[in-house]
Amino acid sequence: MSNVILDVQKLEVTFKTPAGVVHAVNGISFDLREGETLGIVGKSGFGKSVTMMSLLKLIPSPPGKVRDGKALYFGEDLITMSNVQIRHVRGSQISMIFEDPMTSLYPVLTVGLQLEEPLILHLGMTLNRARERAAELLSMVGIPNAKDRLNDYPHQFSGGMRQRAMIAMALSCSPQVVIADEPTTALDVTIQAQIMDLVRHLRDELGMAIIWITHDLGVVAGLGQRVLVMYGGFIIEEAPVKELFANPLHPYTLGLLGSLPRVDAKSHHRLVSIDGLPPVLYEKPNHYPFAPRCKYAIERCWQDNPPLMTLGPQHKAACWVDAKTGKAYQHG
């Protein structure tokens, strides 16, 4: 197994709001290995983005607060770093691609200037050298006439091209880790396919590790190597991508897979719907957050929040019940 480059331990993030304290991330642990693509799946509002933003200290504080936990990047804790220190990591070591390419580019600066900035700041390039490199980066992500397009403003780019420019920006300083936060959600399917193809290509070429946040299980199937499923601020299942789809263990993952119609479906079947509503995160749950919606829930689920348990080779799930048989596990 290759080296662990990012090791997150018991991360806990809360937000203080007028309505109460929101427990967005409730003590999650995971690691990222060199060169791997880690998919994080879950519905919006379940702490996927907050987790990643807190690693880079991008959470506005207050109201946000990292209550507990460590995030060791090559042995150094990102959480306790000073603002000056983290600035050297952000963009150069760990970079981020945001969901909405329409709002994450600065509208009054040219794309060229925005691309050159990290090169000058992090790599100490001269203006001319940075300009050359920016043109190279743009053509690497498949934008034709890259040199001329550097003088364009973001509004002159289409959605797909903006996302390509964002990717170029994220890769400009050859980072070890790229965090992609729903990078294709705002795009049409044919453009999404273009972007996914591009990322696959760049990954093979440059060998960086990718954390790909999405709510679309289809996207993870096509791109991820290992998947984390999140629910209500907890990680509830972790497995290699093939294993997760072939053999989902957590009832929520099962329900999620059943609720998706497939474009290659052979026959018409009724969709499995997960009854009830997602949890409100205002109080720290003392029981298992999925219990109210789970059809397998047993007494223990209401008293005791299951930890992430190893249930197979590289396969972990947080559930007291074997969803296949509906019986409680004997261990744990």
Partner: protein, 341 residues
């Protein structure tokens, strides 16, 4: 299906939005060709899925059918009556039978009205019920869509997205319509909630013999819910066909590319299938390309594509397509065809 079952017939429907310039004296300098001459039938009791990328004119089509936008030209026959010349009372009378469910459940419900007022308003406007009768009907409707009738006194902000969409469905059902345009009714909802709403729509269709025009960009959901599917690109319909026919044997290169671009939630199937990745973006509908609209992104375009607009023709029973080369690769996949060339 037999001819007499046609509920809605759309012929050569065109909707252009003018682009104007000037502050005091406005003059038209161009037009957005949102819908540019489309024809299709919807049969009684079926669901026709309309798919395409954003900006291709799907929603405009839906709204133009209901006369929420007045078409530039063409005809929309509903139950044998052409709607485009109807005005006022007569149009309102027809509208009872055709309703709409909107995309965004956060924007399509008036935040200052209670749920009871929202669902009851159509009854009031069309004068089909009054007083306590309305309350009874509203309670009934709410129950029908799986909401507690006691919710009638609450306001939309107290509900989640899925529940709000149910309110929208109840409102659409209030006048007992026979035809409902569902304009991306689930794309604003969370995946686990989407299935709930889709199941509800299917149940209601069975119970009340509803006919749906289901507009969406999610091809897998459209495949799930529709009987027939029409694929739209830049203001025109490029390929309408039966559901399975379209997915198993897509003939238009755009349909094939679109299908191959949809992620499949199964890493094994996803890794083995053919992928056709289109280059470039959708051209602007202000200046659509000459000839075939898809030619700028088409992997197999030839000179004829720029010169002539392809005929919209029936290649197989019930399977129409607008591509010059549809017959040539009728039996082969596009990838094969590209290889042979």
């Amino acid at each position: 299906m037999a001819e007499e079952n046609v509920l809605l017939r759309v012929e050569n429907l065109v909707k252009h939005f003018p682009i104007q310039q000037g502050i005091i004296v406005q003059k038209q300098i161009g037009a957005v060709h949102a819908v540019d001459g489309i024809s299709f039938d919807i049969y009684e009791g079926e669901t026709l899925g309309l798919v395409g990328e954003s900006g291709c004119g799907k929603s405009t089509t839906g709204r133009t059918i209901l006369q929420l936008f007045r078409p530039t030209s063409g005809s929309v026959r509903f139950d044998g009556v052409d709607l485009i010349h109807l005005r006022g009372r007569e149009l309102r009378l027809r509208r009872r039978k055709m309703q709409m469910i909107f995309q965004d459940p956060y924007a399509s419900l008036n935040p200052r009205m209670t749920v009871g007022e929202i669902v009851g308003e159509p009854l009031l406007i069309h004068n089909v019920a009054r007083g306590s009768e309305i309350e009874d009907r509203v309670a009934n409707l709410l129950e029908m869509v799986g909401l507690n009738p006691y919710f009638a006194n609450r306001y939309p902000h107290e509900f989640s997205g899925g529940q709000r969409q149910r309110i929208g469905v109840a409102r659409a059902l209030a006048l007992q319509p026979s035809f409902i345009v569902c304009d991306e009714p689930i794309s604003a909802l969370d995946v686990s909630i989407q299935a709930q709403v889709v199941n509800l729509l299917e149940d209601l269709q069975k119970e009340f013999d509803l006919t749906y025009l289901f507009i969406a960009h999610d091809l897998s959901m459209v495949r799930h819910i529709s009987n027939r599917i029409a694929v739209m690109y830049l203001g025109i319909i490029v390929e309408p066909a039966d559901r399975d026919e379209l997915y198993l044997e897509p003939l238009h290169p755009y349909t094939q590319a679109l299908l191959s671009a949809v992620p499949i939630p199964d890493p094994v199937a996803d890794a083995t299938r053919e992928r056709i990745i289109l280059t470039g973006d959708v051209p602007s509908p202000v200046n659509p390309p000459s000839g075939c609209r898809f030619r700028t992104r088409c992997p197999i375009s030839e000179t004829i594509c720029a010169e002539q607009q392809p005929d919209f023709r029936e290649v197989k029973a019930g399977h129409f397509v607008a591509c010059h080369f549809a017959e040539r690769y009728l039996q082969k996949s596009l990838a094969n065809y590209m290889e042979r060339r």
